[in-house]
């Protein structure tokens, strides 16, 4: 009982405080754009506890997961060689930094030009944002590999494939996990942005539509859903992380 209560206090304490603060602010400001929590809750129930969840949210989440997975593969796949070879890094970094600084609202039209306006485009938009934290963290994680450990691998004549698998990926995994965590929320954000273009359904599209239609409680309910989605996915990621990083100081029992 008390353990459950303590757990609940830990997980829910801060959110409850924040909701109360929001409530207080909405009561004081009386602003049209800051509805009170009950209003948002009602809007949430009306809006999302319906077929909308299946029609709008599910396809969005599917695209999000596809983009995220692709970004993870791409980020790690590129990050490892870039981290391992200083010359490749020197050559690739300016180009990558160039693309990294291009804002999605102008990148999206370019992607539309090349990939059309359907799901492919939306997935690519998600990839285009998610890949950076994973890539950068992978590169830095690979660069920071323990020298004694990599010398050990070299001494025992480990082939490239197994060196990648047993040393590089594992050794860089704490930092890669940081990148994966970053990318999760970036992915959700880009899911919304991608649906601001060439869409007629989707979670992000619906939120933007609410926003433009001045359906403010509904818009906040959508944001609430995004937050819950982020939280839910992060719990999954934490579970995964605990399995991957069980050996790391931060996770040892």
């Amino acid at each position: 009982m008390s353990a459950v209560a303590r757990w609940a206090a830990r997980v829910l304490g801060l959110p409850v405080l924040l909701v109360l603060a929001w409530w207080g602010y909405s009561a004081v400001s009386q602003s049209f754009y800051v509805p009170a929590p009950p209003q948002v809750a009602r809007a949430f129930a009306d809006t999302w506890l319906s077929e909308r969840l299946v029609d709008d949210a599910l396809p969005s989440v599917a695209r999000l997961l596809a983009g995220y997975a692709l970004a993870a593969v791409l980020g790690v796949g590129l990050g490892v060689p870039i981290g391992l070879f200083p010359r490749l890094r020197a050559a690739a970094e300016p180009v990558l930094e160039f693309f990294r600084a291009v804002p999605p609202p102008v990148l999206v039209p370019l992607i539309m030009l090349l990939a059309g306006i359907d799901d492919t485009m939306k997935v690519l938009v998600i990839v285009s944002g998610c890949v950076w934290p994973i890539l950068l963290n992978t590169v830095e994680g690979v660069r920071a590999l323990d020298e004694v450990l990599s010398d050990t691998c070299r001494m025992y004549g480990m082939r490239t494939a197994s060196r990648l698998r047993h040393l590089v990926l594992r050794g860089a995994s704490p930092q890669i996990m940081a990148g994966l965590r970053q990318a999760l929320s970036v992915g959700i954000i880009l899911m919304v942005i991608s649906e601001m273009f060439a869409s007629s359904s989707g979670l992000g599209f619906t939120i933007v539509l609410f926003q433009r239609g001045f359906a403010i409680p509904e818009m906040w309910s959508g944001i609430l859903l995004l937050g819950l989605l982020g939280f839910g996915l992060s719990v999954l990621l934490r579970w995964f992380e605990r399995r991957v990083l069980f050996w790391h100081g931060s996770h040892r029992a």
Binding site: F32, Y33, M112, L113, I117, F214
Partner: protein, 299 residues
């Protein structure tokens, strides 16, 4: 009044400091022109024009007290009013020419497209810059007028600048664009099949200037006066309009010289606003019958 930052209203040298949130497009040429001509100074208004990107931002900026006046299209304003936002229209913004083939807004298809008229849009994919807004409402009007079933048109959102490329690549069947993209796309081989603003209502009022119900009525009157003068001047001096466009847009000079300009009458076409409201209600864009009378100014 709102937080200190942003261009709030205030007195400067006996003049009212006023900030207007306005999209940097062809439609808003009069306010730029009027400012350049000193029409606002004449009304003791020290006007700052702040570019905004769309209706939602101008509405929230106005409600938040950042702008005293802003520019928004009819559907956006009707939606905001339906939601109970305390908005009040000041005066006309921009109107359709009402002439088929000579308006500033049209639905285009590829040169070799089998689509010949608005009726053929049924079952097809049409791009609009924003859904549930004036674009799809007026296109449905075109389809209805041509005898098609407007509920069977599929809309996707594409910003105007990106629409011609999507059309060329065959990713949509038709696009809705306004000037200068209209002239540009036509020059690149696209073919207009419907003039949706002209179809929707005779001399459709497309957008209006608005403020909040809290703004000082004296200031509103003076702004209206300056704005009306600007509209009249713009409507009668198309060359100066084309010149002023060079200052705040980057429209290619070749396109600029040839493109169709909208009309800028000072009178709001109430009937057209009510028609749009009715159509929007019918299409489900609006949920309730809006109180058009309360939104529009008395005269």
């Amino acid at each position: 009044d709102g937080p200190a930052s942003g261009g709030g209203a205030g007195k400067a040298g006996g003049k009212d400091k006023v900030t207007a949130g306005v999209i940097a497009i062809v439609d808003t040429a009069p306010i730029h022109l009027g400012k350049a001509k000193g029409f606002f100074d004449k009304q003791n208004i020290d006007l700052t024009i702040t570019p905004v990107q769309g209706g939602a931002a101008s509405v929230s900026g106005t409600v938040g007290g950042q702008f005293q006046f802003a520019f928004g299209n009819v559907t956006s304003l009707l939606t905001a009013a339906e939601r109970g936002l305390p908005l009040k229209v000041v005066g006309n913004g921009v109107s359709s020419t009402g002439e088929q083939g000579k308006d500033f807004s049209a639905v285009l298809v590829k040169a070799d497209s089998p689509i010949k008229s608005a009726k053929d849009l049924v079952g097809k994919r049409v791009s609009v810059n924003q859904q549930q807004n004036i674009g799809d409402t007026t296109i449905r009007a075109s389809v209805r007028k041509a005898g098609g079933d407007p509920s069977k048109v599929e809309f996707v959102e594409l910003p105007f600048p990106d629409a011609p490329a999507a059309l060329q690549a065959g990713r949509v069947d038709a696009i809705w664009v306004v000037e200068p993209f209209l002239s540009q796309a036509v020059a690149q081989g696209a073919r207009p099949i419907a003039w949706n603003f002209a179809d929707a209502a005779p001399n459709l009022t497309v957008a209006m200037y608005f403020t909040t119900t809290k703004t000082d009525p004296g200031l509103v009157t003076r702004f209206r006066a300056a704005m009306d003068e600007s509209l009249r001047y713009a409507d009668t001096h198309p060359d100066e309009v084309r010149d002023i466009l060079k200052t705040y847009t980057k429209i290619d000079p070749g396109v600029l010289a040839k493109m169709n300009l909208p009309r800028w009458p000072t009178q709001i076409n109430r009937a057209s606003v009510e028609a749009v409201a009715k159509a929007a209600l019918g299409d489900g864009v609006l949920k309730r019958e809006p109180n058009v009378g309360a939104l529009l100014p008395a005269s």
